[in-house]
């Protein structure tokens, strides 16, 4: 269990720029350490999207729960949140020194870090498609991309509805 907690502790430090950036990392780490199979990971994503709460916290809770029950869920969630809590604390302590740093350049550099992480997430999610190409997956992915980038529909609803589209497409086509 300690290994699982450390994975989420590490990811806590990297959770810049919104939850989805770290989802790929979580996926790779969990699968390579045997805490999760591919199928269960999709479960985790859908449960996280069907329920309230930030996706990364939801994943931490879910993974902790299926592997080690209630206490696994609780500890995992706490370990994931410790780094952000600590970093804000140090940020306050060092505020004067941070002001000497160039804020814009720092932000721009952190954005580079976020770009690396989100690229990893994309690669991680493309893997199953490379293994076994399925045009129906591409079709749903393109539709959801369009809805996300061109409309203001809450992505959570797009994801929930896509499940039903999935039932229709994969069953009848």
């Amino acid at each position: 269990m300690i290994k699982m907690l450390l994975i989420f502790f590490k990811i806590g430090f990297l959770s810049f720029g919104g939850g989805w950036t770290t989802v790929g990392l979580i996926r790779e780490d969990l699968i390579s350490n045997g805490y999760m199979t591919l199928d269960i990971f999709s479960n985790a994503i859908s449960i996280s999207q069907m329920t309230p709460g930030p996706i990364a916290i939801n994943l931490a809770t879910y993974v902790g729960y299926i592997n080690f029950g209630f206490w696994g869920a609780l500890l995992n969630t706490i370990f994931f949140l410790i780094p952000p809590i600590l970093i804000l604390y140090f940020f306050r302590l060092l505020q004067n020194n941070i002001l000497k740093m160039n804020r814009n350049i720092l932000m721009n550099s952190l954005k580079l870090g976020t770009a690396i992480l989100i690229s990893m997430t994309l690669i991680s999610f493309l893997k199953p498609l490379f293994k076994e190409f399925d045009y129906r997956v591409v079709l749903i992915a393109l539709t959801s991309y369009f809805l996300f980038n061109k409309t203001k529909i809450n992505p959570a609803y797009t994801i929930l509805l896509s499940g039903f589209v999935g039932i229709i497409l994969f069953n009848f086509l």
């Binding site: 869920a73 994309l122 994801i159 999935g166």
Partner: protein, 176 residues
């Protein structure tokens, strides 16, 4: 304090999709209660976004702190975490019972596909939302390749690339 707890509990329980869905609800709510102006909230949001951690969690924590100090921070962040925590535990219990069902499997595959599209959209937003130069592109490629090579490199690679980019851009500004 009680009111603060229940307000954040309610906001958290009612918004699907995490931080970005929660933010507009929170602004309206805080304004209606007269606790905070939109401008003050936006300042908090900027800090919440530039620190690590889920936006919903960071924002609630900072709003609580601004309103009631350290106690407020604890009350608000705990209130935001509780609803998703228990809903997830309940949902995973239910879900695991039915996960062998073929329709559930199709449903999950549909969700995987939608998540793929969503992530592609986020990639484009994050890439567009910053200035690129030759060094940054090189750092991006080296970073991605070394993490692909070994997953354990992710934290050192992240820090190294951010620091290198900072040093380079800082040096360039000073030379001008």
């Amino acid at each position: 304090m009680f009111e603060l707890f229940f307000s954040f509990f309610k906001i958290s329980a009612m918004t699907l999709g995490g931080g970005y869905a929660m933010v507009p609800v929170m602004i309206k709510f805080l304004e209606k209660k007269g606790w905070m102006s939109e401008k003050e909230f936006m300042e908090i949001l900027t800090i919440a976004q530039s620190l690590p951690g889920p936006i919903a969690f960071n924002t609630s924590r900072l709003v609580g702190e601004k309103l009631k100090g350290t106690k407020g921070a604890i009350v608000c962040s705990v209130a935001v975490i509780i609803p998703p925590f228990f809903v997830i535990i309940f949902a995973s219990y239910l879900f695991n019972k039915f996960s062998q069902n073929i329709y559930v499997k199709y449903y999950l595959k549909g969700i995987y596909a939608a998540a793929l599209g969503l992530i592609f959209g986020i990639v484009i937003k994050i890439f567009k939302n910053q200035k690129w130069n030759f060094l940054k592109i090189i750092l991006l490629i080296i970073g991605v390749l070394s993490i692909l090579f070994n997953n354990n490199f992710v934290l050192p690679v992240f820090v190294l690339m951010v620091v290198l980019n900072y040093i380079y851009e800082n040096g360039r500004v000073k030379n001008d």
